[in-house]
Amino acid sequence: MATIEISCVEVWREISNYLGDEIPAELRERMEAHFKVCAHCTAVLDGMRNVVHLVGDGRIFQMPQGFSERLYERIRKAP
């Protein structure tokens, strides 16, 4: 059966849900067919995937030095 085409705008609207695997299989299939032929949408997908990867890395926010020790002291001294 032929895949029903999907527009770039519809792809952009669902791209985050696509990454999170939160879309129906039929829509996923249509989006994947679209990515194969649309460089712009593939660029948006790659970019968003990179953003999720970079933000999720955990190294971006360095904890202030001595944070744990000061927290432990506050807990210890709490009434």
Binding site: A43, V51, V55, Q62, I75, A78
Partner: protein, 219 residues
């Protein structure tokens, strides 16, 4: 299947440990409370930072939140995960601090909470090749990322921090922010697209060429 089972077992084990620690704290063991909180320190700090944007203020709010959790631990019923409960307290504590110290910023935050989320279309179509993780070891790159995240409006920054940095589920994010599933999804979607547009000029090689990266776009 094996990994899913392993994860479930690990989660069950972790929540049994958590329940044991909570019981010990309620019986007066202060050390157990530190043990309970320690795995979530970064989560608490990042949540406070996403609202206050200032490391010193975020640390203050994080400490206050942890102490509040200690004094109210008796009221924790285990309906959510301990980490979600702790993040919720931190979120409220950071907002309180913002209202007290910088009321003008709090008002704008409050107003934005009620605003509607319209569609946002990507503005930049630069081709991003996969980014090596080592890139994050470079101080300039981390700085550019933090600047970009801080440039987001609070409603988008908070969802992004909770979901993508702290790894909270959609359900937990809803509970912390008090918004609907569709709002969590649409705000996260917009936050990711905005961040992508802000970072795109640097990602395609700019960070490698220049010593300092300051081309963070204003949108």
């Amino acid at each position: 299947m094996y990994f899913r089972l392993k994860m479930t077992l690990e989660q069950t084990q972790a929540s049994a440990n958590e329940a044991d620690l909570i019981k010990r704290v309620c019986d007066g063991d202060r050390e157990a409370f530190y043990e309970l909180v320690r795995p979530h320190e970064r989560l608490v700090y990042a949540t406070a930072l996403s609202i206050l944007k200032n490391p010193a203020d975020a640390e203050d709010a994080a400490q206050e939140a942890v102490l509040k959790a200690l004094s109210h631990l008796n009221s924790f019923r285990g309906e959510s995960k301990f980490s979600t409960w702790l993040v919720q307290i931190t979120y409220n504590e950071a907002k309180l601090k913002l209202r007290k110290d910088r009321p003008h910023l709090y008002e704008s935050l409050d107003k934005q909470q009620q605003s509607e989320d319209g569609d946002y279309w990507p503005k930049d179509f630069a081709d991003w090749r996969p980014i090596p993780s080592e890139l994050l070891e470079e101080c300039e790159v981390r700085k550019a990322l933090v600047n970009a995240i801080n440039a987001l409006e609070p409603i988008y920054r908070q969802v992004l921090i909770l979901r993508d940095l702290n790894g909270l589920s959609i359900r937990d994010t809803m509970a912390v922010l008090g918004i609907s599933v569709s709002n969590v999804k649409s705000r996260l979607h917009r936050a990711r697209l905005l961040l992508r547009d802000i970072l795109a000029p640097g990602i395609d090689g700019y960070w490698k060429i220049e010593r300092s990266y300051s081309k963070v776009r204003p949108w």
